[in-house]
């Protein structure tokens, strides 16, 4: 390893990166796009339009409707006069939920007899339907519990409490905002994309331009060339990361519970493996096009299998194994762990170890594969 040569390669790479417009796409446009896409589109299922057929027209029925609205999951969009109105609104998509309150609703409640309320949900989107059904059930049981207690108290039996009191606490993300979960994931995804895409072009572009032939007749060592090409990309990665962290904090209110220093330090382990993987692809591909294809094949599953969107525990076991081979899987846990849970190295080292091992394997493979030959 000759430091003068390493410096020369780094200086050349930095100059070229700064003059290449693609660099700015990767360090500015791409992170912004991903953040906006995933960050805003993943906002929670709130304010779903409801249509209500209130046949009771009583204080009790209004209290029920208000209970739905108070959850913020539902907004009353229209009132129906007959069942066909509800059918029409759900068919036409102007409402996602229909609430039907029977005429004898208030009377039954006063008589302490069970009153039934019908709730129909547009379940063509299973995800929002699940939320709405849970909302309806929650509203129903809360209200009936309250009525029950009132009834008992009215009969002079004194204050009472429910036999089982389940109190759920949402740790790490008390408001249950999905952005808080998704945005740190976007950070990991963006870093994965920019580092792999930038590093996969390193060798193969020189090969396509014909400049690699000129480089391999010089005394340059493969390790000098690789390191000289990768170190500037580590810089770009950190720039990227800082930008996203600022945006995540300013625009999405993502907290930083743990140590930023630790996050930056552990990210180096991730860069090691993701840049190594890109470089390995670059030494294997015979053209830039081919490198892009290989990279896409590798990156697409990493979105699906890394736990970015789908919980890994719910994946079939084989897909979980594949996920175990992806650096992103471990990095995802590291990023969320530090940002949301505020945990330290004592909890994260099982993630760091595979990152370092994967990095070492792909890096050594890339250096071994890179021969100072042209055919």
């Amino acid at each position: 390893m000759n430091l003068q040569r390493l410096r020369a390669i780094i200086r050349k790479e930095v100059t070229q990166l700064l003059r290449d417009r693609r660099t700015f796409v990767f360090i500015l446009i791409q992170p912004l796009m991903q953040l906006v896409l995933y960050g805003f589109l993943s906002s929670d299922i709130l304010h779903q339009p409801a249509i209500v057929w209130d046949q009771s027209h009583s204080a009790e029925s209004r209290r029920l409707i208000q209970a739905f609205v108070n959850t913020r999951y539902v907004t009353v969009h229209a009132y129906a006069a007959r069942m066909q109105d509800i059918q029409g609104a759900l068919d036409g998509g102007t409402a996602k939920i229909g609430i039907v309150i029977p005429p004898d609703y208030a009377k039954l409640i006063h008589a302490s007899r069970p009153a039934s309320v019908m709730v129909v949900v547009d379940a063509s989107d299973a995800n929002s339907a699940r939320t709405l059904i849970a909302t309806a059930q929650g509203v129903g049981s809360t209200l009936s519990q309250r009525i029950e207690i009132q009834t008992i108290e009215r009969h002079g039996l004194g204050p009472t409490s429910a036999p089982i009191d389940v109190r759920a606490r949402a740790w790490y993300n008390p408001d249950l905002r999905s952005q808080v979960f998704i945005v740190p994931g976007v950070l990991a995804i963006v870093l994965q994309f920019s580092t792999t895409f930038l590093s996969m072009s390193t060798i193969v572009r020189e090969r396509e331009l014909g400049t690699l032939e000129q480089l391999v007749v010089t005394p340059i060592q493969p390790s000098e060339l690789m390191l000289g090409k990768i170190l500037p990309l580590v810089g770009i990665g950190y720039f990227n990361m800082t930008l996203i962290l600022l945006l995540a904090w300013a625009a999405f209110g993502v907290p930083v519970q743990g140590s930023l220093l630790l996050l930056y330090a552990l990210t180096l382990a991730f860069f090691f493996s993701s840049l190594g993987m890109g470089t390995l692809i670059s030494t294997m591909a015979s053209s830039f096009q081919q490198a892009i294809q290989i990279t896409q094949i590798l990156l697409l599953p990493s979105i699906m299998l890394s736990g970015f969107i789908f919980p890994r525990e719910s994946l079939p076991i084989v897909l979980q194994w594949i996920g175990n081979l992806l650096p992103l899987t471990y990095f995802m846990i590291v990023v969320r762990g530090i940002l949301l849970k505020g945990v330290g190295l004592e909890y994260l080292w099982p993630q760091v170890l595979p990152l370092v091992v994967i990095g070492a394997i792909v890096f050594i493979a890339a250096i071994l594969r890179f021969q100072k030959k042209i055919a």
């Binding site: 020369a8 014909g210 000129q214 007749v217 005394p219 340059i220 100072k372 030959k373």
Partner: protein, 316 residues
């Protein structure tokens, strides 16, 4: 180590790509300080041979020595001591002339003072001092080749391999490049240069013709003109040269004919058929102003070699 007798030696060097034999048992020696030309049409195996000598392509069989080092066994020792200018555009369009030269100065570990001095000196030699801040992508073809040559020669290599340095360059720029090559040779650098421009062969001390992967002739330019041609070239001056060329080619005792300016160069067995040629053309209605035996140009030699090789089959 003591200076070897030869700067470059190739022993039965061969390279196959699948079924295709690009280079077929090629042997030659290049002496220190000479300009050694490797001539042949495109695809003859010139670049493949040079790449094997530079240690970036493994030969299928045979071996090579550069400055006494076996290329296969010690490629890095070779790479430290040679310069190579590849046939393809080998510059980064988004780097300036200065940035290229600084890069190569560092790659060959020249000290900063030494590097700067050599860069200034080379910029003057290849006449690029005024353009040193320009991006390589914005340079003319001639300027690019001069920059590529400066990059390859900056570290003062003992052997310089130049693969088609003058390809796609205008005549003035070609002469400039050859002046620089001559200067390098005067300073003691061994230069192996390939070209498919035959007129450039005259700049070489010695040369070899390669065709279909085989060396078909070798020697000094003069030796080649005298020896390699088994026949005699007659220069025919006539009216209607294109029609006349056809008539000359059709004569049974003419082995080959081609245009050279406004003249026809016909290759025949001996000078004695000159008068017969003039008579035969006259009989076909051509006004022949003269038929003279001449010393063949390298182009004639090359044409004769192509002819001979085509008749015997290029690849045995």
């Amino acid at each position: 180590m003591t200076a070897p007798d030869y700067s470059v030696r190739a022993f039965e060097l061969s390279r196959r790509f699948g079924d295709f034999v690009a280079v077929d048992r090629v042997s030659f020696d290049i002496r220190p300080g000479e300009i050694w030309g490797f001539l042949g049409p495109n695809g003859a195996g010139k670049s493949t041979t040079i790449r094997m000598l530079c240690g970036i392509l493994d030969p299928t069989s045979g071996r090579a020595e550069v400055l006494g080092y076996d290329v296969a066994r010690d490629p890095e020792a070779v790479k430290e001591r040679i310069g190579y200018m590849s046939q393809r555009f080998s510059l980064w369009s988004d780097l300036t002339i200065d940035e290229h030269l600084t890069f190569y100065a560092d790659i060959y570990a020249l000290s900063p003072t030494e590097g700067r001095a050599r860069i200034d000196q080379w910029l003057a030699t290849v006449d690029l001092t005024d353009q040193r801040g320009d991006l390589a992508g914005a340079l003319s073809g001639g300027a690019r080749q001069r920059l590529a040559l400066a990059c390859a020669a900056l570290h003062d290599p003992q052997v310089l391999f130049l693969d088609e340095p003058t390809a796609g360059v205008d005549p003035v720029a070609r002469r400039h490049l050859w002046d620089v090559i001559a200067l390098l040779a005067e300073r003691g650098t061994t230069v192996m240069v390939t070209t498919h421009y035959l007129d450039e062969a005259e700049h070489c001390d010695r040369l070899a013709f390669i065709m279909g992967g085989r060396v078909v002739a070798r020697g000094t330019p003069n030796e080649l003109k005298h020896r390699a041609m088994s026949g005699q070239v007659l220069e025919v001056e006539s009216d209607r040269v294109i029609a006349c060329l056809g008539a000359v080619e059709a004569l049974p005792y003419v082995r080959g004919a081609e245009l050279s300016g406004a003249m026809i160069h016909a290759t025949v067995g001996s000078a004695e058929v000159a008068s017969r040629l003039a008579y035969d053309l006259g009989a076909q209605g051509f006004r022949v102003a003269g038929v003279r035996p001449i010393l063949p140009s390298l182009e004639d030699v090359f044409a004769a070699l192509v002819e001979a090789t085509d008749h015997s089959g290029a690849t045995p």
